[in-house]
Amino acid sequence: MDGVALITIFVLSIFVGFEVVSKVSTILHTPLMSGANAIHGVILVGAIIVTGHADTDVELWLGLVAIVMATVNMVGGFVVTDRMLQMFRPRQSAAKRSDA
């Protein structure tokens, strides 16, 4: 893809990023930060691509380290965010859960 197209996508994404979180309430600051944190774990895609094309041992090992780190970021990030949000469940369902 040519540079101008990439820059176009980049600029439009900035606006979308600002817009989607502009009305967040204070209560959700922490889960939102944590969820956004998990989303940038998608760097895993990049780590897989560079590792899959590695020609030397140095590139391979660095790439594998990046995969481990990115996976921790992505998977751990979504799990911990879900745990936080679990606690915001409405009262009834929380009571049901402790009955079960």
């Binding site: 994404s13 989607v20 967040v24 990049g46 691509i49 590792t51 780190m69």
Partner: protein
Amino acid sequence: MNQTWVQLAYLAAAICFVLALKGLSSPKYARRGNALGAIGATIAVVVTLVAEDFDHMPAILVAIALGTAFGVPAARRVQMTAMPQLVALFNGVGGGAAAIVALVEFLSVGDDSGLGALTASAFTVLIGSVSFSGSVITFLKLQGLMTSRPVVFPGMQVLLPVAAIASVGLAVGVIGTRSIPMIYALAAVSLLLGVLFVLPVGGADVPIVISLLNAATGVAVAASGFVLDNVLLLVAGTLVGASGTLLTLLMAKAMGRPIGSTLFGALSGSSTLGGGEASDRPVKSLGPSDVAVMLTYAERVVIVPGYGLAVAQAQGALKELVDLLGERGVEVSYGIHPVAGRMPGHMNVLLAEANVPYEQLKEMDEINPELPTTDVVLVVGANDVVNPAARTPGTPISGMPIINVDQAQSVVFLKRSMRPGFAGIENELLFDPKTQLLFGDAKDSLAQTVTALKSL
């Protein structure tokens, strides 16, 4: 890699991410939003794995399994009180991964890459490394493995800008010369820059730094999208970078401090740099049974919880006390400061964990007008967020909005010791005639108060 179906799958993942952020901004759809984000990320990874016939496939899968084996148990087992540092750590490894991705791409195609991709590589290595080392220092501060107070040493005012200029200079050098040793030097200096950047940030400001570093990792991931010509990385990274920047500004606003003084205040001597020593001025202390009597005969009670509550794991004991008071007809609510705990909204998570009804939680702006007509305020493990010093100029927390506890009829502090709060400054309210202190572990104190209350 650039087949149409791969690009369409990436588009689907990008839509998931936008909807995830949108969902996470509203209480009702937050959990669904997070699940949608996870689905998007899974689609992206699976499509990437099958789109091309990669070398080293077994090793790649083992690395992914290893990362999952680290990440999931850490996320499952972490105490909710320790969650901010886990988020910081997850953010750090993400930033580190972005830096490594750009580094490896540079090593393999350095000589053939265009100026744009080369610039993006140098930039990703710089920002990713800063985010990694900065997050590690944040983790160490929050985990208590190093002091949470600002660390400033002589020459730091000079060293920080020098490191910043050196890393930008090295980045330009990398772009100009395509030298491999130079990109390693860039990574090393950027790591140092991250450390120097976070060291002088003190106590109460650490959450803002986590948020900022989170946005920085997003920007690094976006730049890696330019490096690899990958639209998904570009979109996902930019979304996080932009929303994270806005979130950081919102948090700084909630604390009433401009972002600049939060980050560089200690260097100019005006940040949360406090003494941290216990005072020996006289205070009025009282016992658990006195507290029980005060609370029972009050009409309206407001609880102001802080991080000390979380450390003592006293949420359950506190809820028991509040329920008992409610049974006796006392009107009780919680006054939640936006930055109570270690991250904005952290206290809401902790109290929700203890099944405290949502309606009892009142935000600062809602509770402040009610305080003059409140009989007793019970401050549990909080300090800075009720410190009237915030109203007088020239103190480390000046300008931070506080809960006006000093306007209530009487105040009871549950405190472990006379040591000042996270910001490290003394609280005049402790010496006010209407203030009394119950010393001890918050959980024990609350349990004893509950016992005393039951026998009344």
